[in-house]
């Protein structure tokens, strides 16, 4: 359990660092590694902050504009193939950030292995912050009919909800919402935009 928390602490720090452009990761890690009780409180607060930050419009905007451009977006598939211990080492050193969004293939609602990593990251925060609740907001791309897509968006959000439940988050802490194709992240009509629009957003309630 301690190891898992450490992972989250480090994950949080690197996320925050990435958001705010704070000092180098090494320094941050030094500050936080000591598992004192006071730190526990800070950690919970930071985890909460991370969830909030992940949901502020500001961060979302950064996500849209910064599409796949940062070197820190190290292939999450690579991580998925490694075991937990390996990951807990890897995550901080690579400055891995978890965008609170799960993407899907065309007409698909399968949460793939790399997306499970994201779910696990936020599920861990939720497990450690029992008062927090989340909304899972499902979206589709513009292709296909609007009402079918409304249902497909829900199907995706429900698939992500199932994944959260696998990691110990109870059903009553998850609200599933679908916006279908109505609120695309990218307005363009091409494959790249469609791929970004097929998503479930993880939001604090």
């Amino acid at each position: 359990m301690n190891k898992l928390k450490l992972l989250v602490v480090l994950g949080v720090v690197s996320s925050l660092a990435a958001c705010t452009g704070a000092p180098k990761k090494g320094e941050e890690a030094d500050m936080n590694v000591e598992p004192v009780s006071q730190e526990e409180v800070d950690y919970a607060e930071k985890a909460r902050l991370e969830l909030e930050k992940a949901n502020s419009g500001e961060v979302n905007e950064v996500e849209v504009l910064g599409t796949g451009a940062t070197g820190s977006d190290v292939s999450s598939e690579e991580l998925a193939s490694q075991d937990l211990n390996a990951r807990s080492q890897e995550v901080p050193s690579m400055g891995q950030t978890f965008e609170p969004v799960i993407y899907f293939g065309y007409d698909q609602y399968i949460v793939d292995d790399s997306s499970m990593e994201i779910v696990k990251h936020y599920a861990t925060i939720l497990v450690d912050n029992p008062s927090e609740k989340i909304q899972l907001v499902g979206h589709t791309d513009e292709r296909g009919t609007p009402e079918y897509n409304l249902a497909l968006g829900e199907r995706r959000a429900k698939a992500v909800a199932e994944a959260f439940m696998l990691y110990g988050v109870s059903k009553d802490r998850i609200e599933v919402i679908s916006l279908g194709e109505e609120l695309p992240l990218m307005e363009e009509h091409n494959e790249e935009a469609w791929a970004k629009n097929r998503r479930v957003e993880i939001k604090a309630q």
């Binding site: 296909g144 009919t145 609007p146 009402e147 079918y148 249902a151 829900e154 109505e182 307005e187």
Partner: protein, 432 residues
């Protein structure tokens, strides 16, 4: 292929204050089989130099949009008769024109208008329609012109015209970087648009009550989908479905007593029928799959809907009395969003094959035809006479509406000047 563009600017003298969401019509005329009709500009008696509306032009545009008729170019009219006696029948025979519309608009001292129309069969040399409207306010002049179009269309085809009808649609505009959604109701030619709801969150799927007095639609105003019932005058408005999960795809029954809708409160998206009086729900489908987009057969005995129970969306039919189901669409891997023609014979649908297009299935002989070749076509809706299908599409990255005539290749494109337009729904006949 001849392209005729009618812009709002073309009718600059009727530019109204509510032109904001009016639709501009562009007719892509590919049929040369259109029958010519002589539309003589109406005689005008009034204080101004010109009448407030050019009745003959409105009628001409209506008839052109049908794909079956075209107006004789005004400059090629050999004469401008005012009465039957004025007509030199030989002159018109040489022009190859069999029908002629003439009439007059008179401004009365009280500011209202009198309109007379005479529709002449030049072969039989007689008046086949003669009508007068009195006490017409300026704002109703276009409606009178559409009524004329309806009468002429019925006289020439035997089919009731659907020009004097309305449509509902949703416009999306960016106002200071924020999206604004508006549910609009406009005449069938895109004029006289009036917003009935504005929201910063999406609106979709308007459905007309059979009496044309109400719309049911989906609004995300509370952050999630809810089905709302609203009178056109805006005086009554209720959220009638806000269950857990999705609330969508409202469709009024032909008798106006029930509403089909999609709910996921019991699991996956399923089709339900709500009794409008008691608000009681009856679940029509029970399946892990997505079942949605239900529409009524005109006799009210069955629903057509979209189900992906076979892995991909296909059209199914369910009968209300027995609960019996059958699959309707077999051509291609993706068929969704059915619309039933008013006579119950045809089912239009969104068909994906090399893009999304509107296809039509003849239930009598199972003939299946793809009608459209525009981009990202969706949301088909029949005109009340079944002659045309209005749908949403995308052109140049902008959401637009288009109308395709079922029996010819004429497509007209309707667009807003700024922003996007989508989710069309063609309203019922208005009283004659």
């Amino acid at each position: 292929m001849k392209k005729i563009i009618h812009t709002i600017v073309g009718f600059v003298f009727i530019w109204s204050t509510s032109a904001y969401a009016d639709l501009t019509i562009q007719i892509d005329q590919s049929s040369d089989n259109a029958v010519p009709i002589a539309l003589v500009p109406f005689e005008w008696e009034g204080k101004q130099l010109y009448p407030p509306q050019s009745m003959a032009s409105i009628v001409g545009n209506d008839l052109l949009r049908s794909g079956k008729f075209k107006a004789v170019d005004e400059s090629k009219l050999p004469s401008r008769p005012k009465t039957l006696d004025d007509i030199d029948f030989h002159q018109w025979k040489q022009l190859g024109v069999d029908n002629l519309l003439m009439g007059r608009v008179v401004e009365d001292p009280n500011g209202t208008y009198q309109i007379e129309m005479r529709f002449i069969d030049l072969l039989r040399k007689e008046q086949v329609i003669g009508k007068r409207w009195t006490g017409i306010s300026k704002s109703l002049l276009r409606q009178v012109a559409h009524k004329m179009s309806d009468l002429i269309y019925e006289e020439l085809t035997g089919i009731r015209g659907a020009f004097n009808t309305r449509m509902a649609y949703v416009t999306v505009n960016a106002v200071k970087g924020k999206k604004q959604y508006s549910l609009e109701v406009a005449d069938s030619d895109g004029y006289n648009s009036q917003p009935i709801l504005r929201s910063s969150l999406p609106i979709m799927s308007p459905s007309w009550s059979p009496d044309g007095q109400h719309l049911a639609y989906v609004s995300f105003e509370n952050g999630r989908s809810q089905v709302v019932l609203q009178s056109l005058d805006g005086k009554s408005r209720q959220i009638i479905a806000k269950f857990k999960g999705i609330n969508g795809a409202p469709a009024w029954s032909p008798d106006g007593k029930k509403l089909a809708l999609t709910l996921s409160k019991d699991g996956s998206a399923d089709v339900y029928v709500m009794d409008m009086k008691t608000r009681k729900l009856r679940r029509m489908t029970r399946n892990w799959a997505i079942e949605t987009e239900a529409v009524w057969a005109p006799n009210g005995h069955s629903l057509f809907f979209n189900s992906d129970r076979r892995g991909q969306p296909q059209i199914f039919q369910v009968f209300l009395d027995t609960g019996e189901m059958r699959r309707i669409s077999y051509v291609g891997r993706y068929n969704a969003n059915p619309a039933v023609s008013p006579d119950g014979r045809y089912v239009a649908m969104v068909h994906a094959n090399n893009g999304f297009h509107i296809a039509i299935l003849d239930l009598y002989n199972e003939e299946f035809n793809v009608l459209t070749k525009t981009y990202l076509d969706e949301s088909p809706t029949f005109s009340p006479n079944g002659e045309m299908i209005l749908y949403a599409m995308n052109q140049g990255g902008q959401g637009k509406l288009a109308v395709v005539s079922v029996n010819s290749n004429v497509t007209q494109i309707l667009s807003v000047q700024e922003g996007e337009v989508r989710s069309p729904s063609w309203g019922p006949y208005l009283p004659r």
